[in-house]
């Protein structure tokens, strides 16, 4: 596959995933924190086109899952009335990016007051897992993107400063970078979390995760940027610019940084999934975003219990849903590297 095409496909794929997650409110039928206490741990609802009498319907429908009469955990489809699934319908209000209120949902699966349609099953409190995966993606992705952005910014500034200035500043900054690389990041995060106040609302918790994860990881990009800056610094066009009286700041901004673009892009596509994974790890351990706010990490946290592992297979689905995301970034990284090689050769 041509490098350009591969890159294009990867970018398009990731853009669509990010788009779906950004518009989670549209794609998700439910609010992620709404509890349906009559249907805890309900299995995914089966979608039918052919009803019990063998008749085909163009509009898909489902039979709501209800608990068996004498059981608290086993479900049966109540086959009396098929509930049709409607598309592009008004529903619960949600906000895009936190400020744009909308009411339209892609599909709605609820038939008056019976149990709703669970595309991927429900959790311990009857919350729709599909909605929670989408909204959880918002949190996890946001944390990952912001953290990567922060890491890269700090790394670029410090790396460029170190590479350009050289001398003592360079030595100091690079030793600092060594320290940060050597720190076991997970334990550092655990330790830092212990210092913080008891109650954090979800927004504060997210900010905290981002700051801590991003602040820890600036060292590697910094080293790479420094390497580029060191090599570019000696190039002729930089010397020429200096000869014309350009200030240091101008040289860095106009001549050196553009050379680092490909490294920054590659680093970005590497770091974003890493930081998303860091947020997932923290939330899984109960130290990042805490329920009821959904994040991919705390959705997986339920799996730590043996009985969930044994009996409710749909609780694994968040892990499955994450796979396309990480694969996309993997392909993107490879594509960016190939393209960079193709361009420079």
């Amino acid at each position: 596959m041509r490098p350009g095409l591969k890159l294009g496909v990867a970018v398009a794929f990731l853009a669509s995933i990010h788009g779906i997650i950004l518009f989670a409110g549209f794609f998700a039928p439910e609010n992620p924190v709404t509890q349906h206490r009559d249907t805890p741990y309900a299995p995914p609802t089966a979608i039918h086109f052919v009803d019990l009498s063998g008749q085909f319907h163009l509009r898909p429908f489902f039979y709501p899952n209800v608990l068996r009469v004498d059981s608290y955990t086993e479900y049966e489809a109540s086959g009396e009335r098929p509930c049709p699934i409607h598309f592009v319908v008004p529903g619960v209000e949600y906000k895009i990016a936190g400020f744009l209120p909308l009411r339209t949902h892609l599909f709605s699966g609820s038939c008056d007051s019976s149990s709703p349609m669970y595309l991927m099953g429900s959790d311990a409190f009857g919350r729709d897992l599909f909605s929670r995966i989408l909204y959880g993606g918002q949190i996890s992705l946001l944390a990952g993107l912001l953290a990567a952005g922060m890491s890269l910014s700090i790394g670029t500034v410090l790396g460029a400063a170190a590479g350009f200035k050289g001398g003592i500043a360079d030595g100091l900054l690079m030793r600092l970078a060594d320290l940060f690389v050597a720190l076991p990041w997970l334990y550092l995060l655990l330790g830092l979390r212990a210092f913080l106040p008891l109650s954090l609302d979800p927004r504060q918790a997210l900010l905290l995760v981002v700051i801590v994860v991003g602040a820890v990881g600036w060292a590697r990009p910094a080293r790479l940027i420094r390497g580029i800056v060191l090599s570019v610094r000696e190039r002729n066009f930089v010397r020429a610019a200096r000869g014309f009286g350009a200030s240091d700041f101008y040289i860095v901004r106009r001549h050196i940084l553009p050379e680092t673009t490909s490294v920054i892009l590659t680093q970005a596509s590497l770091l974003i999934p890493q930081y998303v994974l860091a947020e997932i790890t923290l939330s899984f351990l109960g130290l990042g975003i805490s329920p009821p706010t959904a994040s991919w990490g705390n959705l997986l946290g339920d799996l730590q219990h043996y009985n969930v592992l044994e009996n409710y297979w749909w609780m694994y689905l968040p892990a499955v849903a994450m796979v396309p995301f990480f694969l996309g970034y993997l392909v993107l990284t490879a594509a960016v590297e190939e393209r960079a090689r193709a361009v420079s050769s």
């Binding site: 008891l198 329920p291 219990h305 009996n311």
Partner: protein, 584 residues
């Protein structure tokens, strides 16, 4: 057919075999030994059981032990004068074979069994009993059970009448009568008197000490302790019970306790057959085991409503002296009874029983489940979950709501607080999550924070740095005296307001008076009336907002004989001396 020499050989060998087998069994009763005959059991000696503990015991010293794992191990090795049968909840003779009470209820005369021996073979008599109770009542020792021996404001006195008889003198009669003596292990004077005189009793009998330094009157004795792995107990040959065939108890040769900290690991090991009994199953684990019990290797039991009660409470401590001003500010509405009543109305207790206990539990409006016929007040109101009534109550008490539905207090501050709970209790975390959603319906923004259990205890008992908390307690006995520490203002588990030498409110003063009164009332009818009144006051002022109580869910291997789960602690090992392995 056999010649005379051959016959003699056979006879000799047979006699040798018989005498060898006889010696391998328990020491037969010597003359003058008073054994307690347990006639309704019939088992075979031999075999061992493996049980998992949720944590490593902290000590093997009965005077110091406060945590459950320590008590589980200690009480297989110790015995008390009069024991409450955990299954029937009635008292029965133990080390004391009989007792009489004076008509005014002030003097208890207990007759000990003859021929008692500690597990190391040393004789036990009235001197050991007197020594033990002196230790329990010694103020310098500060035993946790000391308060239970203070009746009517004065500690009881004990004296030896003769080698087999002791007399206890009370200053006021004790309503629960001989139940008083359950839980006080008889300590060996020959091993502990010296450390006591040297002031080192509290350090004696901690885990690392030599097994030969331990002795008790219980069915088992310490054999080995491997730190971080296991404690092994072996049968005591001098235990004072036998069965109807004259076989000395216990039947089992050994009990091995392994340390398995997580519930999930406990289930796995029980399923694999590594452990023989499992205690305190959660409802989900219970149904997981039921589903996979197709091989029927084990037997699960639901022993009915337990004495564990879970509740939400607010920090009502006097915080003026501390720098917790944010919490102090919230206490203006925490202290409003109407606020607590409204929170109680907003709680959906049925959802808790359904979602947390899968129906294997009961909702609680008071400390005792309504199924408790003995002490539960049947006339107590059970206000059903109603968001409308909660809102009405709040509205009348000066609260209001803003445009987005958030609850505001009288000064128009948003009502929001943090609920802490222990991360190791999956049930309580779930309860807290349900509560959070319930409180959202009345406009309260509650946040759930899970902390390690010891951190929760520290905040509640010591630093008072918390706003609200979901916790659970378990009564040792259905009798109200078991929970004196919760209801008395200076009690060690008066959780919502710790360390008050004097009651902080008039209703707490009333509760103190009633609890002290019922402790020294002899008539059961009168005691019940007094305790009903306590329950009514608690229901009116709601210092603890009760949530639900789980059933006792346990399991054991199918061929374990005499397995009889009990509602009182220890649910599975209370009759460890009767357990045996069925051979067929």
């Amino acid at each position: 057919m056999f010649g005379p020499r051959k016959l003699l050989q056979i006879l000799t060998v047979t006699c040798a075999l018989v005498s060898v087998t006889a010696a391998a069994q328990n020491a037969p009763p010597t003359t003058g030994e008073d054994l307690q005959r347990v006639s309704e059991i019939a088992g075979q000696p031999g075999g061992q059981i493996v049980v998992a503990l949720r944590a490593e015991p902290k000590t093997l010293n009965p005077v110091v032990a406060a945590d459950n794992p320590s008590k589980t191990v200690i009480w297989r090795m110790m015995a008390d004068l009069v024991h409450i049968n955990r299954a029937s909840q009635k008292t029965e003779p133990a080390v004391a074979k009989s007792w009489t009470v004076s008509r005014d209820g002030l003097h208890y005369t207990l007759k000990l069994r003859r021929g008692l021996k500690f597990s190391d073979g040393q004789p036990a008599d009235a001197d050991d009993v007197v020594f033990s109770f002196h230790v329990y009542m010694d103020e310098a020792i500060h035993a946790p059970q000391r308060d239970l021996l203070t009746i009517g404001g004065r500690p009881i006195t004990v004296r030896k009448v003769d080698a087999q008889t002791v007399m206890f003198d009370l200053s006021k009669p004790y309503g629960a009568a001989e139940r008083l003596f359950d839980g006080f292990a008889i300590l060996p004077r020959h091993l502990l008197e010296q450390p006591y005189r040297d002031g080192k009793l509290l350090q004696a009998w901690n885990l690392g000490a030599d097994p030969k330094m331990y002795a008790g009157l219980g069915p088992f004795r310490l054999r080995e302790y491997v730190p971080g792995e296991r404690i092994v107990l072996e049968k005591s040959p001098y235990y004072w019970k036998d069965d109807s065939r004259g076989t000395r108890l216990p039947y089992l040769d050994r009990i091995t306790f392994v340390f398995v900290p997580s519930d999930d690991a406990q289930i796995l090991r029980f399923q694999n057959g590594d452990t023989d009994l499992v205690d305190r199953l959660s409802a989900e684990d219970f149904s997981t085991l039921q589903r996979s019990g197709a091989s029927r290797k084990y037997e699960l039991a639901d022993a009915g409503p337990s004495l564990e009660y879970n509740f939400l409470f607010f920090n009502l401590n006097d915080l003026n002296a501390k720098s917790l001003s944010a919490i102090s500010a919230k206490q203006t509405y925490f202290r409003q009874t109407a606020f607590r009543q409204a929170v109680s109305l907003a709680v959906d207790r049925d959802a808790i029983v359904r979602l947390v206990y899968q129906g294997k539990g009961v909702p609680l409006w008071n400390q005792l489940a309504s199924t408790n016929k003995l002490w539960g007040d049947p006339e107590l109101p059970k206000p059903q979950h109603s968001v409308g009534s909660a809102k009405q109550l709040l509205g009348n008490a000066g609260f209001s709501w803003n445009a987005s539905g958030d609850l505001l207090d009288a000064e128009h501050n948003k009502v929001s607080f943090t609920i802490i709970t222990s991360s190791t209790s999956a049930a309580r975390v779930k309860m807290a999550t349900l509560l959070q959603d319930d409180l959202r319906q009345i406009g309260i923004d509650a946040r759930v924070v899970t902390l390690e259990f010891r951190a929760v205890l520290d905040r509640v008992l010591n630093s008072h740095d918390y706003e609200a908390c979901v916790m659970g307690l378990s009564s040792g006995d259905a009798d109200p005296n078991a929970d004196l520490n919760v209801w008395l203002s200076d009690g060690s588990t008066h959780l919502w307001d710790m360390g008050e030498p004097k009651p902080a409110t008039t209703w707490e003063a009333e509760i103190d008076k009633l609890m002290n009164q019922q402790m020294t009332t002899l008539s059961p009818v009168e005691r019940r009336k007094l305790y009903y009144r306590v329950q009514e006051i608690v229901a009116q002022y709601r210092p603890l907002i009760f949530l639900a109580s789980p059933d006792v869910l346990v399991g054991a291997k199918a061929n374990l004989g005499n397995f009889q789960p009990a509602v009182l602690d220890d649910h599975i090992l209370w009759n460890a001396d009767y357990l045996y392995w069925r051979r067929n």
